[in-house]
């Protein structure tokens, strides 16, 4: 009983500490974003450099950019605290709207990429560990390095050329065919998650259309992380297989396959959860390139769109939001890791 109390108390204090650390982390991130974008230049001049100076001045005043920098910064912090990330200069779209609509697209893509990465990386890592230093292991390690090293946009292009252009099996780009996209966006409630929307719409052809559009982007993005998972699972499983309790299991005459499956594998997966948290930022970075390659209209796609138009207010809002999301997801992963693995909180 005393042990349980101590354990839950340490978990609570660990979580509180982690939560409190999120605040300065987010503050540092949003501050960096604000000042780095101001160093780059005047957002209005960047977006509308071709206009006469008096018009630029008028727009700077309207956007509050003629105020002292510290005043702008304070106002920006207050707005971020209220989850108000501003409005894009070039097309007047509120950043919160972009996060709601395009964020759902990124969430959907990232989810399927993680599913793919786990489905491929974890079992292949297990095979590599079981066949250490033999042909399957060498081949899979090589695959892991390649999957991690190959630029995601290049892989995307290769996949498109093979499956869309040469074989004609899968669509080139987009989240759904135009007619399907129009129809499934009319469902209520509109989740902006197309698979759910298409299920709500209730037409199997539409569901299939959405799945077809998802495969290539999810594979391109998922492979990036699958390579990491593969190598991580392999290393952890090899370490676990050398541990005393596994040796004890072997000494009891349990067959090797059962030793791996029942005793070693689950424990070897614990670090994967921690690394998954670290990979969220990598996935979002990869999502920017994947979304651009496949015209997948997520927040990464929008980020590139606004960068191209030098709309730094929109860029600032989106980057700030991504920073906040990464910080919160890191916190969540820490929580999950602490709950699963008591060693983490000590």
């Amino acid at each position: 009983m005393a042990t349980t109390k101590t354990s839950s108390g340490s978990l609570r204090s660990y979580l509180i500490t982690r939560l409190l650390l999120v605040i300065p982390m987010v503050w540092i991130l949003v501050t960096l974003v604000f000042f780095v974008l101001r160093v780059v230049g005047n957002p209005i001049k960047s977006a509308f450099g071709q206009l006469p100076p008096e018009e630029i001045a008028r727009r700077e005043h309207a956007a509050g950019l003629d105020r002292p920098l510290i005043t702008q910064y304070w106002s920006y912090l207050k707005n971020v605290a209220h989850l108000d990330f501003g409005v894009a200069l070039t097309d007047h779209t509120p950043i919160s709207e972009i996060l709601r609509v395009n964020g759902a697209a990124t969430l959907e893509l990232t989810f399927w990429a993680v599913v793919f990465a786990l489905a491929v990386g974890v079992p292949l890592g297990r095979i590599a560990a079981r066949h250490r230093d033999r042909f399957p292991d060498v081949g899979l390690r090589l695959f892991g390095v390649l999957a991690y090293a190959i630029p995601v946009f290049f892989l995307g292009l290769l996949l498109k050329l093979l499956f869309s252009v040469q074989l004609g099996w899968l669509p080139v780009s987009g989240r759904a065919s135009p007619e399907v996209e129009v129809a499934i966006n009319e469902v209520t409630p509109n989740t902006h998650l197309y698979l759910i929307n298409s299920i709500l719409y209730g037409d199997n052809e539409y569901i299939w259309d959405v799945i077809k559009h998802t495969i290539l982007p999810a594979v391109a993005l998922g492979l990036l992380v699958a390579g990491i998972f593969l190598r991580l699972v392999r290393v952890n499983l090899l370490q676990t297989l050398r541990s005393d309790y596994v040796e004890a299991a072997r000494a009891r005459g349990i067959r090797e396959r059962r030793v791996v499956r029942k005793h070693a594998f689950k424990n070897a997966l614990i670090p994967v959860i921690t690394v998954m948290g670290l990979q969220i930022a990598a996935l979002l970075g990869g999502a920017v390139l994947t979304e651009e390659t496949f015209e997948w209209q997520g927040i990464g796609y929008k980020l590139v769109y606004y960068l191209g138009r030098q709309d730094y207010i929109a860029v600032q809002g989106i980057v700030t939001a991504i920073a906040v999301i990464v910080a919160l997801i890191s916190f969540l992963i820490d929580v999950i890791a602490a709950v699963i693995d008591p060693r983490v909180r000590y």
Binding site: H92, T93, A119, V122, R126, W169
Partner: protein, 544 residues
Amino acid sequence: MAFSLRHSKALSMSAAVAAAVALAACGAGKNDTGSNSSGATSTGNPITVGTTDSVIALDPAGSYDFGSLTIEENIYQFLMQVPAGAKAPQPDAAQSCDFSTPTTYKCTMKPNLKFSNGDPLTAKDVAFSFQRVITINNPNGPSSLLGSMKSVKAEGSDVVFTLKNPNDQTWPFVLGTSAGPIVDSKVFPADKLLPDDQVVGSGPYTITSFQKNQLAQFTANPNYSGPNKAKTSQITMKYYTTSDNLKLDVQNGAIDIAYRTLTPTDISSLKSDSNVKVLTGAGGELRYIVFNLKTMPGDNEAQKLAIRRAMAYSVDRQDLATNVYKGLYQPAYSMLPQGIAYATEPFKDVYGDKPNPAKAQSVLAAAGVKTPVALHIDYVSDGHYGETSGDEYNQIKRQLEATKLFTVQLQGTAYTTYSEERVKDTYPIYQLGWFPDFVDGDNYLFNFLNPTNFVHAHYCDNTKPTAPCIKDGVLPLLTQEETKSGQARAEAFTKLQKILATGTMPYLPLLSGNQVAVTGTDISGVQETLDPTYLFRMWLLSKS
């Protein structure tokens, strides 16, 4: 332990992913849908158009860009518009328009016009539409186009514009620009923008679904009674950011039309694909070289002029159009591109359509210019004038250096810096491009030749007798083309174009834009809409 596929559940899971890809293939090629979400009566097969343009706003008071105008053109009516293939505006929602006094332009409305929501369209709505553009004065809006309007009011079925300049010949063109869409005064607020999802117009189409810069679906407007009746009841516009996906989708048949903008390489590759048609029409864009008359090379005015003329003898426009732009542009031999009313080709008449190094050398020798002349030419490197600007100017450098009369140093700069530096006399010879506000010759000349011109390269800084534009005598001709009609206007345009080639020659026109669209072989109506207005008239499109 031997490696065995048979015993590996793990590999089975991986194989399942591959199976999903294969399974997807089974459904590929199927026509997934054919439904009309709006429920409108279907006419013609639905068409999907792809574009890399983007939309700023659907409220006309808040947008002044190609992407927004492409939609506005189809969902709103205008008092006057340039019909497909024509060079001058014709009445659209108006029955007739004309000057009633030198500064009063009066339009009489057609009777019984209606918006798509059933509200009647009256002269009051028209006056309201123009007035709110001025009132709102949105930074992204077209209020600058109405600079010559003093006031607007409705008188019965007439709309009366009071203009600042007498007999302003550009005004009918302005009515068909981004400033001219007619909006419903019962729906649109007078002093602020209306959200995109609430706009109402009276054009041939209505918007039935709109996801900004992602997807827009248009359905034929049942209340439309004008001449531009839609041939296809449902058209979908899909927005891309990259031209490579646009190209692949039109090639694969995922979309029916790729309209604006494919790269020269894409177009070159698509020309050999029998599944698509590559259509070309005249565009209004102009690419040209500006000479800073103060800082360009040359010891005196005569030498500077000789260098400008020698360059005109040395550039090969056809080479640029064919080898750099693969037909996306055509040679421009005037500041008025071909396709614009009154356009002539004085640079071709004076300097020829092929490089003439001997003439170039004799011009330089006559002015006592030592050769080779060292030129420093600046261009925009960040894609503001297209991604191919670097290739274009490298080719110009090769052309000039091939004559042995010039050595050229190129410098590329991002547009933001470029636009600030070029007006500070930093660049002696440099690239600029022009997209017209409307397709009247005045828009290609007035902005370049009057004392308040935007170029600031010392051609017309003031109205002193020593100013080159005064010596060339262009200002009276500008007034003539602005205020006179008919033969007098035509003469003014012809003279102005000729003076620009034979006088001080402050600009060297190089290329004018062709519009290119790629369509499936079963699509018609696209060729008709490819003209210098850049208007994409969806009502002309049909699919067999």
